[in-house]
Symmetry: C2
Subunit: 501 residues, 2 copies
């Protein structure tokens, strides 16, 4: 059994090597690659993905898993070995359902549509992506149909990102959340808008960079096992547990953009850096779901990084960094500015309160497109209408409307967005539990010390990687299932105080 487990690991690590190489090619593509490299890079990425899929769906992996099955019976559910075999089995059973040729089609199409989208978005030209997006929808449906027996056609797609979740469960959860959120948004936006002009001054990039780096070092992001580079659409990526990188971007006329982007991606990275090094190269070495991953980026960006106590400590340093811009701006004004709630066009720039409305409409569109209730050609108009009714403004163009997010232009339609809101919900639930265990955390944050919080998160969540599913983890950590109550309480407390609700 030892030998078979070793063989399984050797094969999994080889597959991971191919995936990690693909991740590095993608990172390079979005950071340093010269324009001339573009033509060959897409096919190179497709080759690596295809080989990784071929190797993972090799029947030999299935035989090894079969042979190892009796062995796991004698092991505790949460032993590393049993967990490795269990998680690999789940991934394998999903992967073998999709024919390699179909995966090849997905890879080629993704390279093609992404390339078209990068031109279509700045040109505000939905028409040129239309036939490609139609094909994405067709491929997404076909993909889902390799997993028959679903309740909703989106379920298999959702399951890849947030294992165990279904369209029906999420729709119900989102409806409850919406019911609570809409009155909050309405009562805030009926008031005069917060003054965020202090953020909209000239802030040189190099100073923004060093201030952000200083913060995420304090958070615990380890620059010996990662680095930060600039890109257009920031993300976190990993080439091994010892090399977890983040990307960011800066706007020299808006301090918030780069600062909170850096904190957000560092949150994702601190999660991955906290995974047990013994899982290196195996399917256990990753975040357990899109929702749990996002819970950590949002926790470090919002719950910590936009809190009054955080800025109580860091604002004087920020003022020292930018004396001309912020020297005479009071802390309270700055705190209100970084927590301004407003009806805005761009999801990634949206505040904590309205953010989920952006997500929910995308989630609903995904269901509607997959069900055939919404045609691709009608998406831009549907976007404008729903945006007007939910957010209260009408996008002036498709660039900031249906062409806004990369997701549908680099993956499937279905399963792409729910994780963002699940992350917001989970983040408050996890943080509540952390506070119950360590009531000293807010006082530590006020001193710029994040050790207790990070250590608790590492111990309770990060170290396990994919050992537990999101529902298992939620139950283990918080003692109960996913619940919107802590999140609503968090929003009502924070924004109730800010806006005297």
């Amino acid at each position: 059994m030892e030998a078979k487990l070793q063989e399984l690991k050797t094969r999994l690590i080889e597959i991971n090597d191919l995936e990690s190489a693909g991740a590095l090619l993608h990172w390079d593509q979005s950071t340093y690659m010269p324009p001339g490299g573009a033509a060959a890079r897409g096919p190179q990425l497709a080759t690596l993905a295809k080989l990784a899929h071929e190797k993972f769906t090799d029947p030999a992996i299935g035989h090894l898993l079969d042979d190892l099955q009796p062995y796991t019976m004698g092991l505790p559910y949460d032993s590393d070995e049993a967990s490795l075999i269990r998680v690999t089995r789940q991934d394998y059973d999903k992967a073998v359902k999709v024919p390699p040729d179909f995966m090849g089609q997905i890879y080629s199409h993704t390279a093609a549509i992404y390339d078209v989208w990068t031109k279509a978005r700045p040109a505000n030209d939905f028409a040129i992506v239309l036939p490609y997006l139609q094909k994405t929808l067709d491929l997404s449906r076909q993909f889902a149909n390799y997993f028959p027996g679903y309740e909703h056609i989106a379920d298999p797609l959702i399951d890849f990102a947030d294992s165990g979740m279904k369209a029906s469960t999420i729709s119900k959860l989102f409806a409850e959340l919406r019911e609570q959120l809409v009155p909050i948004v309405q009562s805030i936006t009926s008031q005069p808008p917060a003054d965020d002009s202090c953020l909209l001054q000239s802030f040189p990039e190099t100073q923004q960079w060093s201030f952000g780096v200083n913060i995420i070092k304090k958070y615990g992001y380890d620059f010996d096992r990662g680095r930060q580079d600039k890109t257009h659409h920031p993300y976190m990526t990993k080439f091994s547990l010892g090399d977890v990188r983040i990307t960011t971007r800066f706007n020299e006329n808006n301090l918030g953009d780069g600062l909170f982007s850096t904190m957000h991606e560092a949150g994702h990275a601190i999660y991955e850096q906290g995974i047990n090094m013994a899982y290196e190269g195996t399917p256990l070495a990753g975040g357990t779901s899109a929702g749990v991953h996002e819970s950590q980026s949002r926790l470090w960006e919002n719950v910590v990084g936009r809190s009054r106590k955080f800025w109580h400590h860091f604002y004087p340093q920020l003022q020292t960094q930018f004396p001309a811009q912020l020297g005479s701006v009071p802390l309270d004004t700055f705190y209100r500015a970084v927590n301004k709630v407003e009806r805005s066009l761009i999801r990634t720039d949206a505040d904590e309160v309205t953010y989920n409305l952006h997500v929910m409409m995308r989630f609903d569109f995904e269901l509607a497109m997959l069900e055939g209730r919404l045609a691709i050609r009608d998406l831009p108009e549907a976007w404008r209408e729903r945006f007007k009714s939910d957010i209260g403004i009408t996008p002036p163009n498709d660039r900031n409307g249906a062409l806004q997010d990369v997701h549908w232009f680099s993956g499937t339609i279905g399963g792409s967005f729910q994780g963002y809101t699940l992350g917001n919900i989970l983040c408050a639930q996890f943080y509540d539990t952390a506070l119950a265990a360590h009531p000293e955390i807010p006082a530590e944050i006020e001193m710029g010390n994040f050790t207790t919080l990070r250590t608790w998160l590492t111990e309770k969540i990060y170290q396990y990687g994919r050992k537990y599913t999101a529902p298992e983890l939620t139950q283990r950590v918080t003692g109960g299932p996913l619940s919107i109550a802590p999140y609503i309480r968090y929003l009502k407390t924070k924004y109730g105080e800010l806006y005297q609700l």
Copy 2:
């Protein structure tokens, strides 16, 4: 046939995708990778190399080549199709002789010894690399023995770098060269040394960077199809014909280091950027031999970049860039400084005249080690003795002696060094031919214009990639075989004038 040729190309491009991914992982390793990434990177590189080798030695490639053989009979020798099949056949016949398991051993050992060397060199500790280097020698011999029928055991290893060359031919050529070189070195070094103190001042890196970039842009290095980054040991690498990158390093106390390194690597890159784009992803898309590659790096670094006419144009710009350091230094002093001939320790820093003595001793050591005449444990002492007798000084330590070059610590013993001197010889021979065709080239260089030279080199050499072997190319371009005469003439003219020989 069309379908079979297409299938062959598809397979070759997929193999090239894996090799290009490996090249990018290596580039990242030596430029941006954080320390924590090191542990996983070696195995990742080994996986990619192993898969590329497995896929290239797939019998299906052999069958395709067999099936295509009759088709090539009807094609001109130098047609793209016939050349692709011919060059692929040669590579394939070599590759299948080496068992995949043995290649696996090579990859693992290379990762291990390289890692040890990176620590041993700064620590000046030959003892810790000794057992590893012994294994490199054993593996190199075993590698050669997969190619039985050789005249000298180094021949198969030499053939991988400089196809068609043999130890006996090179030894004879080097002996002739040595006979001419030694008196030149002696008569120069018996004179008082040139004054290069003007180079040994403080030169801020950012200004060095921009001056170097300006020069290589004028040479024709295309930054839309490449980029320059910093590393410890500069090299050129390629991820596709549209993405040919160079690396460089700077010494803020020696202007020459970074400047000529940049020109050297740009020379390699201009060659690769000049290859016919139709060869993308196939074995034709590369430099044809180590010697021809080096002929181009040395041409742009030395024949052009250390010429009086070059500096006649660029020296005033350099003075403007560094007025405090060079404003009062006459052109002639600067020209003598960048062409200072001296007995020095480091091959890569050596001047044009003594450089080949550094190479020849390494070449002789490789033969002696492979033959068993020189034991690894005796290498440091042999290095000191030979250095003393050839170069006239004794290395004070192994760091600048037997541990100096990366080659034996990242590849085989055998075939690693001859290309440098072949490059010097070829470079003069090609340049002579260029001047015969275009006598206006020196006058153009004096105006900072390199178009005629680069265009001629592209047309005669670069575009063909690996279509012609180095001997074929030499014959086609110069009308004769490899000859040391132009190189000796070049050295005698240039250094005769500089040192009144």
